[in-house]
């Protein structure tokens, strides 16, 4: 089995979850996609973008919208509260 360092939970997702710390410039390896480069340090259990997501685009994990992009997000970019926000304010 391929040694992966990130997991795509649902095939509709546009983020993967880092299974270990992935340093900037290192490859993000998942079961389901071609490896790609991490543009930032991705701490383990954090999200990394799989594709380009435009500002106000939907962040999809579990096949569902988990957040909205606050800025353009590039493939390989770390995704967290600095660049995404809740769809509905609570």
């Amino acid at each position: 089995m391929k040694k992966v360092n990130a997991l795509i939970i649902n095939l509709e997702d546009n983020v993967a979850i880092a299974l270990k710390d992935i340093s900037q410039g290192k490859k993000v390896i998942t079961l389901d996609r071609e490896p790609f480069l991490a543009l930032n340090d991705i701490p383990y259990s954090h999200k990394v973008a799989l594709i380009h997501i435009p500002k106000e685009g939907k962040m999809v994990k579990y096949g569902e919208t988990i957040a909205i992009a606050k800025t353009d997000i590039k493939p390989g970019e770390w995704v967290h509260i600095h660049n995404v926000e809740s769809e509905v304010e609570r």
């Binding site: 360092n5 997991l7 939970i9 979850i17 259990s45 994990k61 579990y62 967290h80 509260i81 995404v84």
Partner: protein, 386 residues
């Protein structure tokens, strides 16, 4: 697996264990209950702190939960011990359990002449019941007789990534085969209710999902005040969770992706097959007690930080989200979904591992919680005592 071997009950349900439950109708009978259960093979004491001195709504919850435990398919016979002056009356509790058609007897400590005499008589009755239970044979029944409860406790950043998606895949697998799966913990649904509502099988179910989540969110804000953020918030931001929707989606993922057939009250038994929701708190002890009372023969319990908790009635299978916790608490945890993080297994492979483990537990393999004699039981109570 199209069928399994189990203990067929008069009401059509099927047990994977054949316990004698000794149930106090009120906490005052706990001592007698413990002594009886200690002396009799296969007897399980269901001690608790309630049964009197509470308002009508809490007393109904206590009584429904105890009755549900007695009716659980894993219970073959029941002995109820009451004091005599309590509000949750031993006689009506015994009658309500007996409606399921299983043997039920009851004794009152005040009527029978105190603890010693009640205990001796109780042991005599329990030994007879236990003797009859040990002679009962299993029969082959369709797989769809299974009712499985879902729970998580001591979650971590990987719970929603490994253990919960694996259990979700098991839920879908079970529902496809006609089983009933109960998703619980309303607290953990706050922020993801729109996803659950979309999967409701009709408008009434959708309305009920919205109702229980709104009520739980309001109660959380009313009671916790500024601390409500501990519940209604992304939670583990350091762990990479960005929004409350993401956190709650990770929790409800245990239920898989099937349509939601009905919404049950705390401790209520399902009337439909497929995926159902039970309105329970996130507190795992009170939630698994409600799942057992609702008739779950088995519970799948995911954990990130590790927990020993297990139901006295429903064998509880513990699934760790990461290998470190699994190895550190191997005596408490049955399955390691952390193998996904280590790159050794896929979600589908861990799903198959859980399914195989369920089959072995049905064949009477003991779970770690059973081996540890974990028998954690707690009933929801919402108002003050009087």
């Amino acid at each position: 697996m199209k069928s399994f071997l189990g203990y067929e009950r008069a009401d059509g349900s099927v047990g994977i264990r054949n316990y004698l439950a000794v149930i106090p109708s009120v906490a005052c009978a706990n001592g007698v209950v413990n002594q009886i259960a200690n002396e009799v093979k296969g007897a399980i004491p269901i001690t608790h702190g309630y049964g009197c001195g509470a308002g009508p709504s809490d007393l109904v919850t206590t009584s429904n939960t105890l009755s549900g435990i007695g009716r659980n398919p894993n219970v073959g016979a029941v002995l109820v011990i009451g004091l005599g002056c309590e509000v949750v009356n031993a006689d009506s509790l015994a009658n309500s359990i007996a409606e399921s058609g299983k043997p039920v007897e009851h004794l009152l400590i005040q009527e029978y002449g105190g603890s010693q005499k009640t205990m001796e008589k109780g042991i005599e009755i329990a030994r007879k019941m236990s003797g009859r239970l040990s002679k009962e044979a299993k029969v082959e029944v369709p797989f769809d007789k299974l009712v499985i409860g879902l729970e998580c406790g001591g979650s971590d950043a990987f719970s929603g990534v490994t253990a919960n998606p694996c259990v979700g895949a098991v839920s879908d697998w079970l529902v496809e085969r006609g089983c009933t799966v109960i998703l619980s913990e309303t607290t953990e649904m706050i922020g993801a209710e729109h996803v659950l509502e979309r999967r409701a099988m009709n408008e009434e179910v959708r309305r009920r999902i919205a109702e229980i989540v709104t009520r739980m969110e309001q109660a959380t804000r009313d009671i916790l005040g500024p601390l409500a953020g501990m519940v209604i918030a992304p939670g583990n931001i350091d762990g990479g969770i960005s929004t409350i929707a993401e956190k709650s989606l990770g929790c409800i993922r245990k239920g898989g992706t099937s349509p939601i057939m009905e919404v049950l009250e705390y401790a209520q038994a399902p009337t439909k097959k497929g995926l159902v929701i039970m309105d329970t708190p996130g507190y795992d002890v009170e939630s698994i007690s409600a799942l057992s009372a609702g008739g779950a023969q088995l519970i799948l319990f995911t954990t990130g930080r590790g927990t020993p908790v297990g139901s006295p009635i429903s064998p509880t299978i513990k699934i760790a989200s990461n290998s470190e916790t699994y190895h550190k608490m191997k005596d408490d945890i049955d399955i390691n979904a952390g193998t996904i993080i280590d790159g050794d297994k896929s979600i589908t492979e861990v799903r198959d591992e859980i399914v195989q483990f369920i089959e072995r537990v049905i064949e009477e393999k003991k779970t770690k919680a059973e081996l540890n004699k974990q028998a954690v039981f707690g009933i929801l109570k919402t108002a003050t005592s009087f």
